[in-house]
């Protein structure tokens, strides 16, 4: 069940984990904007390296590397398709700048994935729900979000049980032609849907027995407050943003192949 380790949030007491999710989201957005601004490889390398201290402080290296490994397949597709199209457009010749461009596009993708995974690795679903709630998102929506996130591992266990049970009854998932393989999923999906609906009705009863929605105005035990670290992160992201835009407008960015040759 290693796939769900990402969803089973691991609580780590680190300076990054206690930051306000809204600020972390702003940081991710600014990284995103700057990464989109530059098609050159050098600034993208800088952006990539910029995330590493963040990851180290948060002590999520293991999970982070795993998420990067998950992205390698897509990164390889991006690299391949870029190379192929450049190759065809350039009249079946490949020069070094083309290679560098393809590499830069791949790196841009990796930077986006990495920034995003840092956000999700260091933000607990509860914290995220709290941040949503305090950004004036309707409470019903936040509740549905956090509950659904908690529901996922439970339902995944159930899916595994159902799969084992059907396999024990002779279902062979990886057998048959195209259509047969598709249809093999029906004996798994139907019990899964039925049990999820049944569980949801139990959940509804539990919620009603605790008077869910009886009080219009809710209060929270924890309130998100901006601390020194949050202001520091705002400063960092704003300066990344300003520096990125300034360099884009006023500076010439050398390509790596020019520097090396």
């Amino acid at each position: 069940m290693s796939v769900f380790d990402g969803l089973r949030f691991r609580r780590v007491a680190s300076p990054v984990h206690i930051l306000d999710p809204r600020i972390k989201f702003f940081y991710v957005c600014s990284i995103f904007v700057v990464a989109i601004l530059f098609p050159e490889i050098l600034p993208l390398i800088v952006l990539f390296l910029l995330q590493i201290p963040f990851v180290l402080i948060a002590r999520v290296q293991k999970e982070w590397i795993r998420s990067l490994r998950g992205a390698t397949f897509l990164a390889a597709i991006i690299f391949g398709s870029n190379i192929v199209f450049r190759f065809i457009y350039a009249g079946y010749t490949l020069i070094l700048p083309d290679l560098e461009f393809a590499l830069a596009m791949t790196l841009r993708f990796v930077v986006l994935v990495e920034a995003f995974s840092v956000f999700f690795l260091t933000t607990s679903p509860d914290h995220l729900g709290l941040a949503l709630e305090q950004s004036r998102v309707p409470y019903e929506f936040c509740f549905a979000f956090t509950t659904a996130v908690r529901f996922v591992p439970v339902l995944a266990d159930e899916a595994e049980t159902i799969m084992d049970a059907q396999k024990a009854r002779g279902l062979e998932l990886e057998k048959g032609n195209f259509l047969k393989r598709i249809r093999n999923y029906i004996p798994i999906l139907i019990p899964l849907i039925i049990s999820a609906i049944r569980r949801s009705l139990e959940l509804a009863e539990a919620m009603e027995s605790r008077a869910w929605g009886a009080i219009e105005k809710r209060t929270n035990l924890y309130v998100l407050k901006m601390k020194a670290g949050d202001y520091l992160l705002i400063a960092i992201s704003v300066s990344i943003l300003i520096l990125g835009i300034y360099l884009r407008l006023h500076a010439f960015i050398p390509s790596l192949s020019d520097l090396l040759l």
Partner: protein
């Protein structure tokens, strides 16, 4: 419309189902064509109505943000799911089997256009290629797998 506990809990169930479907029932892949088995849940919005519309969009948000390929996917996927399921529900609520079938075809078209569109932006591939890849996968998941599933569950719910 009043949002009751049952309303919310059904949407929670669908969100979790979709996310589990995406992450656990890993896509069956046949070369270029990837079939997202979880998309077979989309036609179910025609049975379960608005709670499942919210749930399937939320589920897409959750699954896309954990197996993320960037902001566009996290924002675009839920929007695609929301529009597709909402329109299908709207069409199917005043008709019989034909309406439901048209609804499921519309879902395929909407998902193909939106997801194929942003995937070509993310991967820098030509639009036609990514549209084609998503179209095949969606037809299999939504029309071939999802629609019979929807009819089956509708019949069973009636008899239950």
């Amino acid at each position: 419309m009043r949002i009751t506990a049952k309303w919310i809990s059904v949407s929670v169930a669908f969100a979790a189902l979709y996310a589990v479907g995406v992450i656990f029932l890993a896509p069956i892949s046949f070369g270029v064509v990837q079939v997202r088995v979880a998309d077979a849940l989309l036609p179910l919005s025609m049975v379960f109505g608005l709670p499942s519309v919210l749930g399937l969009s939320l589920g897409c948000l959750i699954s896309n943000s954990y197996g993320s390929i960037g902001h566009l996917d996290v924002i675009g996927g839920p929007i695609a799911n929301f529009l597709a399921t909402f329109i299908a529900w709207f069409i199917a609520k005043r008709g019989g089997v034909t309406h439901r079938f048209i609804g499921s075809i519309l879902e395929t078209i909407i998902v193909t256009l939106i997801v194929g569109g942003y995937l070509s932006v993310i991967f820098d591939t030509p639009l036609e290629l990514s549209l084609f890849g998503v179209l095949i996968g969606s037809i299999i998941a939504i029309n071939i797998l999802g629609f019979p599933l929807e009819e089956m569950i509708r019949r069973n719910l009636k008899s239950a």
